[in-house]
């Protein structure tokens, strides 16, 4: 009888699809895959299992600590980008934001402002650049791809000019030993992890359980409809670009403090931009907008970290790293697309 109810012929194309209710363990599996983050979990676990089998010291605490610097700052960049990509927009300037904000922090401390206020001001400056992205996208009407591409070049140039193309020592890390400031802002072993998880929880709540989140989804899903319902689309776009830029700026400062030096290297930050966008997409945020997940983006960053760390552990030539990453992204996305078809059949979106 259950089989016949699966194929209700009267359901129109745009209408409600018939409900499938698989029994037993299959039901649990479908339930799991029905999660927006289902596919990235599958792929990440598969990668961990693979490295655990093929290397000796993979599943050790030491390796876990090695893994953290690979993905925590990426995760922070990615969760900000989720808010922009859920709008159906993209922010290409987060790499440059990551690059320039630590220099702003440095300049502020040079001007005699104490460390913590300098960090806060530098992140606010990043937010200001994000507001400019939002202004040109939402008010002037330049596609976000173009507006933030311009911002990318502008900020890369700014970072090189401010630094005179020279590496500097991060303020607050010059003292021998690791002072409390540095412990908190990136240099502590778990500092970046705690920042990422803390922000991740706050931003996931923001996305799922507040008006801000609902408006973000609605502006990405049906911009005209959301406007007709009364949502102030421009304001939603503006604040999401600001949030995204501030996350990237924070990630830049944390990494600057962790490595105790800041290098004006636009090609490195461009790499992080692409990694962060990859993390968002393989995490389950839809590029066309209307669907996003903060947890998925963190898992996406974790996956990239697992892959990089595992390949280092396997002593794979660095040139192969990109090749494997490319293959892995395609596999992850293929699983994601296939899983989405399963999801459509489960009554969840």
């Amino acid at each position: 009888m259950a089989a016949t109810s699966e194929t209700t012929p009267s359901a129109p194309e745009s209408g409600s699809p018939p409900k499938r209710r698989p029994a037993g363990p299959l039901a649990l599996l479908t339930r799991f895959l029905a999660l927006r983050e289902g596919s990235i979990i599958v792929v990440t676990v598969a990668a961990i299992v693979y490295f655990a089998i093929t290397t000796n010291d993979y599943l050790t605490f030491g390796n876990f600590k090695n893994l953290l610097p690979y993905f925590c700052f990426l995760g922070i960049m990615a969760i900000g980008e989720v808010f922009v990509m859920t709008l159906g927009e993209i922010d290409l300037s987060i790499g440059a934001m990551y690059l320039v904000t630590p220099f702003a922090f440095w300049k502020l401390t040079e001007a005699g402002i104490p460390l913590v206020p300098s960090v806060i001001l530098a992140i606010l400056i990043a937010g200001g650049f994000g507001a400019i992205n939002g202004f040109f996208t939402a008010w002037v009407g330049i596609p976000s791809f173009v507006a933030t591409l311009a911002m990318l070049f502008f900020l890369d140039g700014l970072a090189l000019i401010v630094s005179h193309s020279e590496q500097i020592t991060t303020p607050g890390t010059e003292i021998v030993g690791v002072p409390t400031f540095a412990q908190i802002f990136g240099a502590g072993t778990y500092s970046e992890l705690i920042w990422m998880l803390g922000l991740g929880v706050i931003l996931q709540v923001l996305l799922s359980l507040t008006r801000w989140g609902v408006y973000t989804v609605s502006a990405g899903g049906n911009r005209l409809g959301a406007a007709e319902a009364g949502v102030n689309i421009r304001l939603v776009m503006l604040r999401n670009f600001v949030l995204c830029a501030m996350c990237a700026g924070l990630a830049g400062i944390l990494e600057g403090v962790r490595t105790s030096s800041i290098t004006p290297d636009p090609s490195g930050s461009a790499q992080f931009l692409l990694y962060a966008i990859a993390a968002v997409i393989i995490g389950g945020t839809v590029m066309t907008g209307g669907e996003g997940t903060v947890i998925g983006a963190i898992l996406g960053a974790l996956f990239i970290g697992v892959l990089q760390d595992g390949l280092v552990l396997k002593s794979v030539n660095a040139n192969y790293e990109y090749l494997y990453l490319g293959i892995a992204v395609i596999i992850a996305m293929t699983i994601y697309v296939l899983v989405r078809r399963v999801r459509r059949g489960t009554g969840r979106a």
Partner: protein, 313 residues
């Protein structure tokens, strides 16, 4: 007669009643080079259901969007319950008690039924402004039950509902709100006969309550006579006809529309001929066989039945 009128055109003069909740005087709206509304005079009495009829592109939706605060009019004035009314946003219109079911429904596919029901009127907790999903679910269920629309689950994204169900949710969202003036822009367009009847039934119930005033855009004359108190016809950016439904008939409305079509067709032919004769004159000056080509084009022009209605919706 206002100077905006075309030759031979009848424009409804300003009419008012003591119990008007909404009054629109000489409202005009342009979108760049396109004139969507030329001179709109309209009033809505308390508890009344006003049918707004008109061809595609005549300006119905533009008028609705101005009343709902989505667009702003260029000139003219509006009054809502005795107060000057010029909403800058949908939000302001809602504060004045005017809410709208838009033609495109304004639903977000990715959001669930109850999230759409409460879009931009979410219930939030204090002090942390988190969404009160449980309360919103409960109220959504009650509102849908009240209307009598069957939805499998209010936790489904609306993308998975049928056209009629989506329309029902858009209507339910507005009706379950606080508004006492409701604008319905083709609420029956995607509905089957049964669902459509349910919505008409609902409009009837609202009318019987006497508390809510409604402007309804529909195309089906049967429904107009079933549920509406008065009919306004909008043609080419002006209102050309205003009568209580008790004083008009399906055949009279049909006659007006047929007459409008005839005139539009004649107009199209005349423009076409005028353009062609200019072309012919130019061609003749250039020593071309202008007359023959003009005749040719003219014939194809007559075959064109385009009524030449103004775009802008």
């Amino acid at each position: 007669m206002p100077d905006t009128a075309y030759a031979g055109e009848q424009i409804v003069a300003l009419d008012t009643a003591d119990d008007d909740v909404l009054r629109v005087e000489h409202v005009a709206k342009r979108f760049g080079p396109t004139t969507a509304l030329r001179d709109i005079n309209l009033h809505l009495r308390k508890g009344e259901v006003l049918a707004l009829l008109g061809d595609n592109g005549a300006g119905k939706s533009t008028l609705i969007k101005i009343l709902s605060g989505f667009h702003q009019h260029d000139s003219g004035s509006m009054w809502c319950k005795g107060e000057p009314y010029a909403p800058r946003s949908v939000q302001q219109a809602r504060k004045a008690g005017i809410d709208t079911v838009f033609q495109d429904l304004a639903l977000v596919n990715q959001l669930t039924v109850f999230q759409n029901m409460f879009l931009h009127r979410e219930l939030t907790a204090k002090p942390l402004p988190l969404l009160r999903n449980r309360a919103m679910r409960k109220r959504t269920r009650a509102a849908l039950d009240d209307i009598g629309i069957q939805i499998q689950s209010i936790d489904l994204p609306v993308a998975r509902l049928s056209g009629g169900q989506r329309q029902a949710i858009a209507v339910a969202r507005v009706i379950s709100g606080e508004a006492d003036i409701i604008l319905l822009d083709e609420p029956l367009a995607a509905m089957g006969a049964k669902e459509g009847a349910q919505i008409i039934d609902l409009v009837q119930r609202l009318r019987d309550s006497g508390e809510v005033s409604i402007i309804l855009i529909v195309h089906n004359y049967i429904q107009v006579f079933q549920v509406c108190d008065r009919v306004n016809l909008i043609q080419d950016g002006v209102i050309t006809f205003d009568k209580p439904t008790s004083e008009t008939s399906v055949s009279e409305l049909n006659e007006i529309v047929v007459e409008q079509y005839r005139r539009a067709r004649l107009e199209a032919q005349r423009t076409m001929t005028a353009e062609v004769s200019v072309d012919a004159a130019r061609a003749a000056v250039a020593g071309d066989e202008g007359g023959a080509s003009a005749a040719r084009v003219n014939r194809s022009g007559s075959a064109d039945d385009s009524p030449g209605a103004a775009p802008g919706e």
